[in-house]
Amino acid sequence: MTDLAKIRNFSIVAHIDHGKSTLADRLIQETGTVETREMKEQLLDSMDIERERGITIKANTVRIDYLADDGEQYVLNLIDTPGHVDFAYEVSRSMRAVEGSLLVVDSSQGVEAQTLANVYHAIEANHEIVPVLNKIDLPASDCDRVAEQIEDVIGIDATGAIQVSAKTGQGIHETLEAIVKELPAPEGNRDAPLKAMLVDSWYDAYLGVIVLVRVIDGVLRKGDRIKMMQNGSVHPVDRIGVFKPEMTMIDELGPGEIGFLTASIKQVRDTRVGDTITHEKKGCAEPLPGFKPAQPVVFCGLFPVDNAEFEDLRDSIEKLALNDASFSYEMETSAALGFGFRCGFLGLLHLEVIRDRIEREYNIELITTAPSVIYHVHMRDGTMLELHNPADMPDLTHVDHIEEPRIKATILVPDEYLGDVLKLCQDRRGIQLDLTYAGSRAMVVYDLPLNEVVFDFYDRLKSVTKGYASFDYQLTGYREDFLVKMTVLVNEDPVDALSTMVHRDRAEQRGRALVEKLKELIPRHMFKIPIQAAIGGRVVARETLSAMRKDVTAKCYGGDVSRKKKLLEKQKAGKKKMRQFGKVEIPQQAFINALKMDD
């Protein structure tokens, strides 16, 4: 049990790649939490995919013991959070478990869109915020400018900002001192009934479901019978522990402390993040306010390239969903692609991460169909249909109107690229809400349809601004618009997996781009192939893929037989990766690549 006054709980938040995980490394190392020889870069990013992509996907908690300059021993609970907008939910719920935030800003880059977004979350959570200017070892580092920016754009005092290099370790001691001095100690009552926040939960192959908790009041002990207040289920606590960062068992967690418990809970689904945990007997009266659950916003179909692998795919998806409540799935059949799943994700990066994991950890090759958002289709009879898949669009005669999700997007960009950014937003049916300047950077706020953003907006933004823009968004609600389903016909046959919803005014342009792209992606066949985009019965764009003209080995003598046969075997294997539509074969990547616009 730790004295409340000696506890500091905080999250580390920043724009993507500004150095949160590296800063966490240094704090862990400086305090001797992990032996230097066991240290590795971004220690907390433990998933393969995190290490490979160099990004944080899941928030991670570590308990650090720190002997401060005042001679007192402190317990610091640190939560390293992801920077990418898809995982913003991880950040906001992590913040609910702590009292303060280290706001890391790369001093060679400055304030970016997720810096802002994270500050808003922190303010909402009533956090004390300590600004940290990182990467001061870089030649491009400019602390004065960035401190000014923090004051101008964010409006928080940056005079006390700590200058740090998470790479060299400079400023780490100062950071630890600031944590102790600037951040508030948690409040709580040891004698009150148990009230703990269920911050996160995941499945561990050895220990079963692990629940991350923050105790607000009371004491949680091994052997206690605890109750989940939302559904009233009761579980005996098997283990209690903390992350240092490896799991370390302890006997109890008191107010202000963060740790984990296991309680022979079968499935992650039996736990709800944001739930309140109390004792079965003499429980607390009022639950905590809880969190809004994370909702998938982007949907796409995942189909096995080899139809025989459908059951393996089901298995892998079920396993991944066990640990990821924000990932949804249901079975889908497509005339073109056979059996698969319609899956929901938090965003495109989330989609890519799940897809990669299925392909690599479970060794199943996938066809991914075009991502879509959820449309609200209001029927003439007054009912409303949530449309996750354009292929399921009902007959238009029964449809009254269609609504689509909108977002509020914040983009920070250097002046010189502003024009391109505005054009991009305008092209994507955006409505400008705000445009302000902070030094040589512009901050643009746009109201945009999510379906225009979901797919390649971020890539396009990066390419038109040479990587200098940053982007963040929030869902704002639904709005009616003139949306239509665009069908693609290849060799006169509709290909359901290529159907998309588009705005009527953009249909021609989209259709043209799509058929042109498909023309590049489908290999030539022995015959010419018309590729058309149509709305209802009306063709809005058309291209013809001409027939292949030459494919023969000019010189073939006795010794070539084996070589040629190998080549043919390879080609035959390639052919198996195509999907057959009537007489036409479409390569698996075409389903997603066709939608990438180079406008």
Partner: protein, 386 residues
């Protein structure tokens, strides 16, 4: 009857040396200053004896000296090889011995010697009929020297063929039309007309990968050139009997027909391939590619081969189809089924015939000229389930 008898039996001898390496060529050819032809002679003879013991008696249809540049071989080396082969097998009535030659003056000087040693047919690598293009192809001869060699060859041999490479850098359709017309006027009865292929690992291949090989024809132009070739040769009575080979009726290369009709062929010399039927099994053979390594292996262990594979019946069927559809005479479907134990889907055959790619005439399956230029695509369709 064994399956190989549909194609006959040929003997291939590989000579792996050239004066210089051409930038487009990925054949097993090496440039070497010192070649002890005596040493090579005993190695070849030893290999002939080894192969003969395994194959046993049967009628031999052809011998082929390929390279590399076999016209660098001493005529008596060539004669000795022919003689040794003939001691092992009786020869067919239309027995033919071909030697590949480069048309330089030095080599032309040896032609009569080859003739005397038993070579009956010569295949000359002209590649182009103008000096500028010959230089770009890295050839050692001039157009004039080539013509002189051709005259000598015509006097020495009953049958002379030559090779041209077209679809070269910066070649126009008209330029090729002219060049081919001139070639056809030389009253010749066999021509090999190859489209330039950029092979990996060659000088052209490297340049191509670096984006530095300019002026190659587009697929469309190359295809047009192919069809112009068919048209001009048809008019001259030299229709294609194979994708790239043209001959007057009856003047086809017997040896190459053995390959394309999927007969048996023994292959000796560095990097030679073979397909021989032994005890009812088709065996794929291959020899060491490096001349020195091959020579040593033959001297030390009396065997220049590397690994061997038994070709399954299904693979034989695929190989037979791959080779046979190159020929205008096509293949026998019955033979295909007898080998593979299965049939090509009649739906596929019907579709491809309807598209004008295949001709089905009783038991014979042929590719049309339209089909032949996309033969690889046809084969993918035909063999997808085999």
């Amino acid at each position: 009857m064994e399956d190989w008898q549909n194609g006959g039996f040929g003997f291939y001898v590989h000579w792996p040396f050239c004066m210089a390496k051409c930038p487009y060529c990925d054949f097993n050819s090496h440039v070497s200053k010192e070649i002890d032809q005596k040493q090579w002679r005993s190695a070849y003879l030893s290999e002939i004896d080894r192969v003969a013991e395994e194959i046993g008696p049967r009628t031999l249809n052809t011998i082929y000296f390929g390279g590399g540049t076999p016209s660098l071989m001493d005529p008596d080396l060539v004669a000795a090889i022919i003689e040794r082969i003939r001691t092992h097998w009786p020869t067919a009535n239309d027995f033919e011995v071909t030697l590949e030659a480069n048309p330089t003056s030095i080599e032309a000087g040896r032609f009569q010697g080859y003739r005397d040693g038993g070579v009956s047919r010569i295949s000359m690598g002209y590649q182009a009929l103008n000096d500028e293009d010959l230089r770009r192809l890295g050839r050692m001869h001039t157009a004039k020297e080539g013509m002189e060699a051709f005259e000598i060859a015509k006097n020495a041999f009953d049958r002379v063929s030559f090779d041209l490479i077209y679809a070269r850098q910066d070649q126009t359709l008209d330029a090729w039309r002219d060049e081919l017309t001139r070639a056809l006027e030389l009253s010749i009865d066999h021509l090999s007309l190859y489209q330039l292929t950029i092979e990996q690992g060659t000088a052209f291949g490297d340049r191509y990968e670096r984006g530095k090989l300019r002026g190659l024809p587009s697929e469309d132009l190359a295809t047009d050139m192919f069809f112009v070739t068919q048209e001009l040769c048809d008019k001259a009575g030299m229709s294609a009997y194979e994708v790239s080979n043209h001959a007057k009726l009856g003047s086809e290369s017997r040896h190459n027909l053995v390959y394309w009709r999927y007969g048996d062929y023994a292959g000796i010399g560095p990097g030679a391939h073979g397909r021989i039927t032994v005890n009812g099994q088709k065996i794929a053979t291959e020899t060491l590619r490096q001349p020195e390594a091959w020579l040593q292996a033959v001297e030390k262990s009396s065997n220049g081969e590397t690994e061997r594979d038994i070709v399954s019946k299904a693979d034989q069927a695929s190989e037979m189809l791959m080779m046979g559809l190159r020929l205008s005479e096509g293949v026998s479907l019955e033979r295909f089924s007898a080998l593979s134990g299965s049939k090509i889907s009649s739906q596929t055959l019907e579709n491809l015939s309807e598209m004008g790619m295949l001709l089905l005439d009783g038991d014979r399956l042929r590719a049309t000229p339209q089909g032949r230029v996309i033969l690889n695509a046809l084969l993918r369709e035909l063999l997808v389930d085999i």
